[in-house]
Point group: C2
Chain length 388, copies 2
């Protein structure tokens, strides 16, 4: 059900012809109210795509009526024309919705794009696509919307959490360029809970910090990452802030896990648990550094419990630790103890897709979990065989 | 001629049986004087192998008589026993050389090791190997020494620069784990110039900063990197400091280039030139970030001039730049101008092994060059198919 699981939302996903293969490539999500509160987080990449620049501006007032998303082109590094195209897309959505009795201005329409960088969008296809999508808006359109934002994703990603009289749902796309500061991903979350902008913003930032910001498939940060949370208030329930934040985090964690599970070319999902760190920042730095070590990612692909590569990665961080006190477990076997040889590496069973690396810094009591993928020949193939 | 091109040095390379395949695995380099000045730079990884800890200590007084190097085992993350083994190796070298009339103490013997992390060295093979190597020491042994330190290197690497009456020569090994702060590499440089420790140290630091510290094959920093420079004074010539520094840099640049040219699984050598930066630090930061972008490395492998991935990498740095002023050339074609589409990407010819990426930050007048490799299925295979 995705973004239409919560009451007060309609959605559609159609093929506008942006993708040359004819697959669905345009999604529209509309908040039918009564409330139209919204919050967003965006890529921290300083090279931002036009739709990111646009959407950051329009969500700043805490209100959105609609989100239009396209795959088949990122509209990044496209200069002034690219920004004009984003603006024209929002105008087209506003005009079309207004004509259908849902009065809105372009300033309440967020735009998100994903696909190849450095290519202008085919506006002659995209703008008529907006009309087609508006005509298909439905309270059951969430799944089609989720399908329309796929790029190299092999499956569409949705999640719904239902609470006592209110719901948080969402959809996500993302398969490569997944790195902290937001993965290459577009995410739209919706809720029918009656939560104001400040409540949405707090819940969204708290959730993304420990979910999407902690997946690192390939160390590459996108120009287009966008996560939006829209509240319709249609359930006429105002949950306690903690309960609401918890539900948003549940949905984000689930979608983040789905992103890792569908990462380009990956054969393993690696859960990196950093424990006994002097601070949460230390734990995150160590986790990310381990997550980005290509030699280790290759070893995991080869089902080789190569703890030496974990230690050599930890050694490049500024975290508090003593080399002689480090411990590392792979799938529960402590193959490295006190910075040296530990339990028999032959005890480690790495046949399954999920691999758990536990790095014990022996320096405090903080911890963090980072999710990553292995590095495979399929990843190389997928990212070298064609421009993406 | 490698380390024995300069007068006043003997060397040997033999098979001690450390490698199970019987290939050469032990090298010995001896400074026969009259001077025995030395300087060293080592990995900045905080997880340092036992031989690195040892060699940092023994070179601190500015004198070395000999360097013993082994492949087949890194002696890293091996605890107190690993350090005792390094110490015993240096003692064995000192004792053996002293018995042969070259009186020295263990405190003047540097040790370097390369190979798998987390495995104790087979001392029952290594110590007898020291005697065998000492027996084969010769003024023509430089090439054999260079061969004995290979791990996954496909070729041995040597370089000699001859000046007016004096010489700088050297050998290097390194094929993976090549990243700033020193690649996974062992390098021994020798000169017969009559230069004191301070002169050696200054020349070596100046040279490594712009050569070995600026190769980044796979973003992974080793626990064992060691670069040593030994001066015998046998040429009885004291060059001007600038001329000497220049010669050392020439040798380092040549060896660094050889390391990139033989990087594990690589099909392309990527020269990343960052120009018009606000500072040299900015240029280096941007160059390294581009060098480590897996998506770009895949694109280069696929001969795809994917400048969008260059921009998305630059965008993650803290360097001074405006996104709308960035320019990127690939092999001389300015495919990105002012942060957007530039010249026709089809004009870019990427058929040859060397690829040049020029990133113009339009923010100043400083520059830097970083060397990197592409990311290939062969790299994945080489680093996943067995523990290394």
């Amino acid at each position: 059900m995705s973004v239409t699981a919560a009451k007060g939302f309609t959605a559609a996903g159609i093929a506008a012809g942006i993708k040359q293969n004819g697959n669905p490539d345009l999604a529209l999500v509309v908040n039918t109210g009564p409330r139209r509160a919204a919050a967003g987080v965006f890529t921290s990449n300083r090279v931002k795509a036009a739709p990111v620049v646009w959407s950051q501006q329009v969500v700043a007032d805490g209100e959105l009526t609609a989100v239009v998303l396209n795959s088949g082109g990122a509209n990044a590094c496209t200069g002034p024309q690219g920004f004009q195209d984003t603006h024209a897309t929002a105008e087209k959505v506003a005009e079309t919705l207004t004509a259908r009795g849902m009065e809105t201005g372009a300033g309440d329409v967020a735009v998100a794009s994903t696909g190849l960088i450095g290519i202008l969008l085919p506006m002659d296809k995209l703008l008529p696509g907006v009309e087609k999508a508006a005509a298909e808006l439905s309270a059951h359109g969430g799944e089609k919307a989720a399908i329309a934002i796929k790029t190299t994703d092999t499956v569409h990603k949705t999640c719904v959490v239902q609470k006592d009289g209110w719901t948080v749902g969402g959809m996500a796309k993302g398969a490569g360029m997944l790195a902290p500061g937001l993965a290459t991903m577009l995410v739209v979350l919706t809720t029918d809970a009656d939560v104001d902008t400040a409540g949405l913003d707090a819940a969204l930032r708290q959730a993304t910090r420990v979910t999407f910001d902690r997946v690192d498939s390939d160390g590459c940060m996108s120009t287009n990452d966008t996560v939006l949370l829209l509240a319709s208030g249609a359930a006429e329930v105002t949950p306690a802030p903690d309960a609401f934040a918890q539900a948003v985090q549940e949905v984000c964690a689930d979608l983040a896990r789905q992103l890792i599970g569908d990462a380009e070319g990956a054969s393993k999902d690696i859960r990196i648990e950093v424990i006994n760190a002097a601070s949460e920042d230390d734990a995150v730095e160590v986790g990310r550094t381990i997550a980005r070590n290509n030699l280790l990612k290759c070893a995991i692909h080869g089902e080789d419990p190569n703890w030496g590569r974990v230690l050599s990665a930890i050694g490049t961080t500024s975290a508090v630790f003593e080399p002689d006190l480090l411990n590392v477990a792979i799938n529960g076997v402590w193959v490295c103890k006190n910075g040296s040889v530990g339990e028999d590496r032959d005890l480690v069973d790495m046949r399954y897709r999920e691999v758990v690396i536990t790095a014990d810094l022996a320096a405090g009591s903080d911890s963090a979990v980072i999710w990553a993928n292995d590095l495979t020949a399929d990843y190389v193939h997928e990212n070298s065989a064609y421009s993406s």
